[in-house]
């Protein structure tokens, strides 16, 4: 046999080659593995979530998931419209039996408010919530009577001065038998030297209420709870004599720090008090009296004493209001507690609302989103079962934030952000591309611009976030008649005639500047009062920034995608045959006419392709919107126009200047910032899956649009 001259000589070489090949192959196939793993995991874990919650997952606002545990056999009821949600969130088979329809009627009172009425703050907001309107009011009033209710006879003690004031304000108090008493109290006069040293946290907490002047280094509130014996550095700036309560004095003596050797002298104080007893039941008193009474007797509890510090409100009404509506019990409280409220046309109406009754077959945790849970709890409140036990005696209750699904807010937020960003980005980008490609001569300036554009493309996105924070959030100019107190600078533009009403003043913390007094002093006092804006009667171009807002985020994102848009727009402009431009110009078109009619239409498909890239990038970015537009929680959807302040153009501006939730930021919140739990995990996968689908839809829309345009303009 002929020897084979080409026999594989070295078997080692073959093995070696196989090994080399395997390494290269492994690297390549690992990509496939990663891709499959990512998509597979998201779909495998996310799809069941979408399947369970269905459209509710998309259409709800982000809510907390509340869990209550009940014994078996509990009879419960829930408003009919929440029943579906109940089933969706508790899909265990046969958990609920004896499901029956029932209905409850709620009685409402209808009434009208007459001009010149005075109403308590809390009651006003109650009426507003039930009737979905906003009342205008003139001023706050502290002498208006307010109602309160005592569950038992209560003894009150006040100083003689206060008693005189109280009885003059409300003579009714004189009818309660009063007696004068003398109280003795012991306190210690203690001398402190100027000193730098240390003191225990628990002592410092007690001394915080004393008149001692000192400077503390470090955060007392955190330390005092966790380690009360911890020593905190302390500086007493001058020698002083302070009156301490026995408790404070004892604490100082027991202190292990540098201030423990303290000698105090005992001081005996006597105070005169007037004591009287108000019987149980409903009463009315002027707000200021009630306030004094409660301040001096913090232990006494009065019902309906909310919003005391805000006072009652004089409604600014020219004519009788439209017909309003309140549930019976609320209406009774309103009438009882607001004697200066003039109401007329009292009518009665009742509404039937459908409920579902059901029985729990076994002890179980019931999961519901917050809104449904509160409806559920309200439906069962006060009701008792056959044994006289309250129905809703739960064994345990738990709340998991953001775990109830509902990503309508982030979806709409991302959509509005992307749309606004693309409008701005394409606007600036296409204009710039046209200028660069068609108008500009090649020069130093232009090549600098190109270079800076390239650099822009390489800037990390967090840098854009900081840039947006610095420029759009806190410096950009804004036309406003109520500029921020700490804006950078401002120019008056036109006089403004509409002074913000009292409610806006209170809500937005606006100071109305008095023209006759010096501005600087007024601004300083406004700052001390914690006010944020001021009104002088002029509309300013104020460089105060747009705040954390949709428009600031959109601009930041737009600048981030500008390089992508400009480069690819320029490319697609260049791809339009030169003949089109020449033909157009030869027909007597101006440069712009030629660009508009013979170049731009044919570059559109390419520009749209660029925007596809832009959209997918913009939608996914977290860092640039973190400081400029996104918030973790928001109660209203961004497109809920009825909740936005202003009318017409103003409404549009408030739409642009609201902060929004956004998908990437929401995912970051639920995955990274909230404590991990089994309830939040499905939300993470579900949100990610939906987000992926949304980005695909966005991209798909652009592709579809591109194909359509391409079909129309093909050469």
């Amino acid at each position: 046999m002929e020897p084979n001259p080409f026999a594989p000589g070295n078997s080692k070489r073959v093995t070696k080659e196989l090994a080399q090949r395997s390494v290269l192959m492994a690297a390549t196939y690992s990509i496939l593995c990663f891709t499959l793993f990512i998509f597979g995991l998201i779909i495998w874990r996310g799809a069941p979530v979408l399947h369970q919650y269905g459209t509710e997952f998309l259409t709800r606002k982000p809510e907390s998931l509340e869990l209550v545990t009940y014994d078996a056999g509990k009879q419960l009821s829930i408003p009919a419209k929440s029943f579906k949600t109940l089933q969706k969130y508790n899909p265990r088979e046969g958990l609920f039996t004896d499901i029956q329809d029932s209905s409850r009627s709620t009685e409402y009172r209808t009434f009208k408010i007459e001009p010149g009425s005075v109403i308590g703050d809390g009651y006003l907001s109650n009426v507003e919530v039930y009737n979905n309107f906003t009342a205008k009011y003139l001023k706050r009033e502290f002498t208006a009577p307010a109602g309160f209710e005592l569950s038992q006879d209560t003894e009150f003690q006040v100083s003689p001065d206060s008693y005189t004031t109280l009885t003059s304000q409300s003579p009714k108090l004189q009818s309660f038998p009063a007696q004068s008493i003398t109280l003795e109290s012991k306190s210690y006069s203690v001398n402190f030297q100027q000193k730098e040293g240390q003191m225990q946290a628990k002592t410092l907490v007690k001394l915080a209420k004393s008149p001692l002047i000192y400077k503390l280094y470090g955060n007392l509130t955190d330390v005092a709870d966790d380690k009360p014996a911890e020593l905190m550095p302390l500086y007493i700036p001058r020698a002083q004599s302070v009156l301490l309560t026995p408790e404070q004095y004892q604490a100082c003596l027991a202190d292990t720090g540098d201030f423990k050797a303290l000698e105090g002298t005992e001081v005996i104080n006597t105070t005169e008090r007037i004591s009287f007893t108000i019987p149980a039941g409903k009463h009315t008193l002027p707000l200021s009296s009630l306030k004094t009474l409660l301040e001096e007797n913090p232990a006494a509890s009065a019902l309906h004493s909310h919003n005391l510090e805000k006072g009652a409100i004089f409604l600014d009404m020219k004519k009788t209001s439209d017909s309003l509506l309140l549930p019976l019990s609320e209406f009774e409280a309103l009438q009882q507690d607001n004697p200066q409220l003039k109401i007329s046309d009292i009518g009665s109406t009742s509404y039937e609302s459908p409920y579902k009754e059901f029985t729990l077959t076994k002890a179980a945790q019931i999961k519901l989103p917050t809104t449904d849970m509160s409806a559920f709890k309200a439906a069962n409140a006060g009701a008792v079962n056959e044994n006289g036990q309250p129905r809703l005696k739960s064994l345990s209750e738990k709340v998991f934030p953001y775990s109830a699904g509902g990503i309508a807010g982030p979806i709409l937020g991302t959509a509005t952000l992307v749309i606004a960003c693309m409008i701005i980005g394409l606007g600036i980008g296409v204009c710039a591309a046209i200028f660069l490609g068609e108008y500009s001569r090649q020069g130093k300036l232009i090549s600098t611009i190109r270079l800076s554009m390239m650099n822009l493309a390489g800037v990390p996105s967090i840098v854009f976030g900081i840039f947006g924070l610095g420029l759009f959030v806190s410096l950009a100019p804004k036309m406003t008649s109520t500029p921020s107190i700490d804006d950078k600078f401002r120019f008056p533009v036109i006089p403004s005639f509409s002074q913000p009403d009292l409610r806006t003043q209170e809500k937005e913390r606006i100071m109305i500047i008095d023209k006759d007094k010096e501005l600087v002093h007024q601004l300083r006092s406004a700052q001390q009062q914690g006010l944020e804006r001021y009104y002088t009667g002029w509309t300013f171009l104020s460089f105060q920034g747009w705040g954390n807002s949709l428009i600031a985020g959109a601009f930041t994102l737009a600048i981030m995608v500008l390089p992508i848009i400009i480069t690819s727009s320029e490319e697609s402009l260049r791809a339009v045959p030169r003949g089109f431009r020449e033909a157009s110009l030869a027909l007597g078109a101006t440069k712009w006419q030629a660009i508009k009619t013979a170049v731009l239409p044919y570059a559109t498909p390419g520009i749209l392709t660029a925007s596809v890239l832009g959209i997918t990038r913009v939608a996914g970015e977290t860092a640039p919107i973190m400081f400029t537009a996104a918030v973790a929680a928001k109660s209203d959807l961004p497109t809920n126009f009825s909740a936005l302040p202003g009318v017409g153009l103003d409404k549009f501006f408030s739409f642009l200047s609201q902060s929004v939730q956004a998908m990437p930021y929401h995912i970051y919140t639920i995955a990274g910032k909230l404590p991990p739990s089994i309830h939040i995990k499905p939300m993470q996968y579900g949100s990610v899956l939906v987000f992926m689908l949304i980005v695909m839809i966005f991209a798909g829309l652009s592709v579809w649009l591109r194909i359509r345009v391409r079909k129309k303009y093909k050469w």
């Binding site: 003949g579 033909a583 110009l585 030869a586 027909l587 101006t590 044919y602 050469w715």
Partner: protein, 259 residues
């Protein structure tokens, strides 16, 4: 062809032109007159500057930033077109141009022809209809396309597309039509159509045509100019140029000995 007495519409007077700010002249001291309602042909080997000269006549060379006229002037209808008070847009409305590669816009036939009138601000539908029909009739395309005016222009054959471009040009009613090798991308039959059209159009328009084909020049033009490396070698009646050229180079070129 004989040349009746006509007055010059384009007067080129000692023109020198450069593409690079005067460093090197592409055209060197050209002087010639094109007559009204006449067809003037520019012939010469590639790179001799005939297209450049054509593009000087409606200032299309303005698109090249570094180009400039270094000497002499071009007068069209008696006006120096490089003067400061001449608006190139207005000039181009009067001096239309047809390009070597037919370049209809990717729009309908109707929109292509109506493009010029539209950018000049004519919006009235019936006026536009009239202009489109007249232009298409003048360019002998009407009968072929009248039933599919709304169809894309790109569906036409090459010759039809080139005639459409001519229709597009005459829709803005220019005085002069410049044609830059209009038949070089067409087959012989389409070429014959276009040549026929040129002859027909010369009744109403003054035409300047750049061509590589000497047969074409002899067939359609009344006057012919022969260029060689940026210089005008010979200019005269077409019959004279082809039958008794004065210069050796011209003779060599027209007899096909070089070029």
């Amino acid at each position: 062809m004989d040349t009746p007495e006509r007055k010059p519409i384009i007067e080129i007077d000692d023109l020198s032109f450069s593409y690079n700010m005067g460093k090197k002249n592409t055209l060197q001291n050209i002087s010639l007159d094109c007559l009204e309602n006449n067809v003037t042909a520019f012939i010469g080997p590639s790179g001799c500057g005939k297209s450049t000269l054509l593009r000087c006549l409606n200032r299309m060379n303005d698109l090249v930033e570094t180009s400039c006229v270094t000497n002499g002037e071009v007068r069209i209808m008696g006006k120096n077109i490089n003067a400061k008070d001449v608006d190139p847009i207005e000039l181009r409305k009067n001096v239309g141009m047809v390009f070597q590669k037919y370049n209809p816009f990717p729009k309908s036939i109707y929109d292509n022809v109506a493009y010029g009138p539209r950018i000049q601000g004519i919006k009235d539908r019936s006026t536009l209809d009239g202009i489109v029909e007249k232009s298409l009739r003048d360019s002998a395309l009407w009968d072929e396309v009248k039933d599919r005016l709304k169809d894309s222009a790109l569906g036409l054959s090459g010759g039809q597309q080139q005639r459409l471009c001519i229709a597009r040009t005459i829709a803005v009613a220019p005085k002069i039509i410049l044609m830059d090798e209009p038949c070089s991308a067409l087959d012989p039959i389409a070429t014959a159509h276009v040549e026929e059209l040129i002859t027909k159009l010369s009744v109403d328009y003054s035409i300047v045509i750049v061509t590589h084909s000497m047969q074409q020049a002899s067939r359609v033009s009344h006057q012919t100019a022969f260029f060689y490396i940026g210089e005008l070698i010979e200019f005269g009646n077409t019959s004279d140029i082809f039958t008794k050229p004065q210069h050796k180079r011209t003779e060599d070129y027209v007899s096909g000995r070089f070029g």
